[in-house]
């Protein structure tokens, strides 16, 4: 596999941004090494803060910095960034509409051997519930680099979810991404697969397998689960009517839920959600954890075939 971890993309992009714009700050909480902000802290110490193992404080400090015109990226793991400091995000970032970014590595099952305590399976759902929050998960290294920059340019709260392990390249350097706009990887008419994050490579394989069987597949990279690209989802409902969502996140409150909400309100179309079956992970190989939850090429293909019957 040729690929690279999205957390590496974050580390590189934030350094490039910091060099260009002195208002870009990184607020670390003692896991800068794991979240790839060490080069930033070395080269740009004047734009770096490490508050120690104190995530709630990190978020509050970032909010204060934002009131003074800085663009802070609070950097930690998904579990802590979405839940340890979720009320600080609500009260001090989203409610006052401050320009704070929460950039988290170790989203989903990728810290597989660390076990459930470190696997953020519900992070995007938690943050999606807070008014004013934008929630992103890039599918590969190139997408991650572009979306970090898009997040920096966007005025407002953004949650960015990265992962620990290398993911296959899907895009190349020239691909362009816009917050809130799905990236169409394949055009098709029999079934729409809507996925995001690391799992995109699984969805892509499933789409190819379905194509080999003579089906026409539309594949969307829904890197922004909030605000959801309603136009793109509406088009799937109107033009295809059969949708499969795939995510390395709880099937509750993530991408699958967001799509279902739209389909239900329209009153037409069917959706199959593939994702974490509302259960915690465990220490195990990443592939095993995906399989246990049916997040596999095979399950996507079979789900599509069931819809065709």
């Amino acid at each position: 596999m040729t690929g690279k971890a999205t957390r590496d993309a974050y580390g590189e992009a934030i350094l490039e941004l910091g060099r260009e714009n002195k208002d870009i700050y990184v607020v670390d909480a003692d896991i800068g090494k794991s979240c790839k902000t060490v080069p930033f802290s070395r080269e740009l110490p004047g734009q770096h803060v490490n508050v120690g193992i104190a995530e709630q404080n990190a978020c509050g400090v970032a909010a204060g910095l934002a009131t003074c015109g800085k663009i802070p990226f609070v950097t930690t793991y998904a579990v802590f960034g979405s839940m340890r400091m979720s009320e600080q995000i609500r009260q001090e970032v989203c409610y006052p509409k401050l320009n704070v970014k929460i950039a988290c590595s170790h989203g989903g099952f990728t810290p597989a051997n660390d076990g459930a305590s470190h696997q953020g399976v519900e992070d995007m759902g938690v943050l999606r519930s807070i008014p004013g929050m934008t929630v992103l998960m890039p599918a590969d290294y190139y997408a991650a680099k572009k979306l970090v920059k898009a997040a920096a340019d966007y005025k407002g709260a953004v949650y960015l979810r990265f992962t620990r392990d290398p993911v296959p390249f899907i895009y190349d350097e020239d691909a362009e991404f816009e917050i809130g706009k799905a990236y169409k990887l394949k055009e098709g008419k029999d079934v729409a697969i809507i996925a995001n994050g690391d799992i995109m490579s699984v969805a892509l394989k499933a789409a190819e397998e379905l194509e080999a069987k003579g089906h026409s597949v539309r594949l969307l990279d829904m890197h922004t689960i909030k605000p959801l690209d309603e136009e793109a989802v509406n088009a799937c409902i109107d033009e295809i009517g059969k949708i499969i969502t795939v995510e390395d996140h709880n099937i509750l409150n993530g991408l699958g839920s967001a799509v279902c909400e739209m389909v239900a309100e329209k009153g037409k179309g069917i959706v199959k959600r593939i994702g974490i079956r509302d259960q915690f992970g465990e220490s195990a190989p990443y592939e095993y954890l995906l399989e246990k939850n049916g997040i596999t090429v095979d399950n996507i293909v079979k789900s599509a075939e069931r819809m065709f019957r």
């Binding site: 003692d30 060490v38 120690g52 193992i53 709630q56 051997n113 305590s117």
Partner: protein, 278 residues
């Protein structure tokens, strides 16, 4: 057993714990050796002397509780449980493997002897307060021991927990601080100075002691002093320690916070731990 023999026995146990933890982390290929090794002497004193526990009856209501608030160093806890025969010794080879009772961070649902699941820093001490409070309310005489990291003391929740312990006069709670002056990114002094922790706990109203956390005589002494204390205050032992203690190339090296030794490093490490005279 006289005092001297006891200290010798406990130092020998600490050696066994260090070896077992190293085997586990090397076999798993990941884990946290630094903070496991710095806590080994305290863990030996607790599991082989101080704690009133029944390995054959891990949920005995009157047992002393142990809370590993810095859950990432579970290899040293699992080693203690393995050597006290809470589960078969061979289980150590399954650390972090699929289906193992030895999860990457302690899981009370599956591992006998784990009194609470931990892994997110700063939270364990509050659960220890709850256990100590229940002991008081139920008129039980067990005690609760809680191991916290010095970096972990940067979490505000630690101090919220201490307030509760002081308010409810939890003299049945013993907080042990592994003061190795290292955390994930760097030394505590660089990341976020913790200051004089013994002084801080005292200022919050605890009965706090400062010792050398690798000197078994001092560990045994302070635990005895605490056992005999009649003050209605939560107890704290701040142990000055060396992260990676016992393995020269791991000592005080930040990288060994969360990295597994390869075969060669493992062999050297085992040899060094073996060669220490107790």
């Amino acid at each position: 057993m006289n005092r001297n023999d006891k200290a010798v026995m406990l130092r020998e146990k600490a050696r066994e714990l260090r070896k077992t933890a190293l085997i586990m982390i090397h076999t798993a290929g990941s884990g946290h050796p630094g903070g496991s090794l710095s806590a080994a002497d305290f863990m030996a004193a607790l599991y082989f002397d101080e704690l009133n526990i029944r390995p054959g009856d891990p949920t005995w209501p009157d047992r002393d509780r142990f809370v590993l608030s810095k859950g990432h160093v579970c290899p040293i806890l699992y080693s203690s449980l393995a050597l006290r025969e809470y589960f078969p010794y061979e289980t150590i080879y399954t650390l972090r493997k699929q289906g193992s009772i030895l999860q990457g961070h302690p899981d009370m649902k599956v591992c006998p002897g784990v009194d609470i699941s931990t892994g997110s820093l700063g939270q364990g001490l509050s659960t220890a307060v709850g256990m100590a409070l229940a002991g008081k309310r139920d008129g039980r005489s067990y005690r609760v021991f809680c191991l916290v990291g010095d970096g972990e003391c940067q979490e505000g929740q630690i101090w919220e927990a201490v307030q509760s312990a002081v308010k409810y006069e939890l003299d049945n709670l013993v907080i042990i601080v592994d003061n190795n002056n290292l955390q994930n990114d760097n030394t505590c002094d660089v990341v976020m100075p913790t200051g004089d922790l013994r002084f801080k706990f005292e200022a919050f109203g605890c009965e706090a002691y400062g010792i050398d956390g690798h000197d078994m005589d001092q560990i045994v002494d302070v635990l005895e002093t605490i056992r005999e204390s009649e003050k209605k205050l939560p107890k704290v032992v701040v142990g000055k320690t060396v992260k990676g203690k016992g393995v020269s190339f791991m000592e005080n090296v930040v990288m060994w916070h969360g990295m597994a030794p390869d075969k060669e490093q493992f062999d050297t490490a085992m040899k060094e731990v073996e060669e220490v005279t107790v």
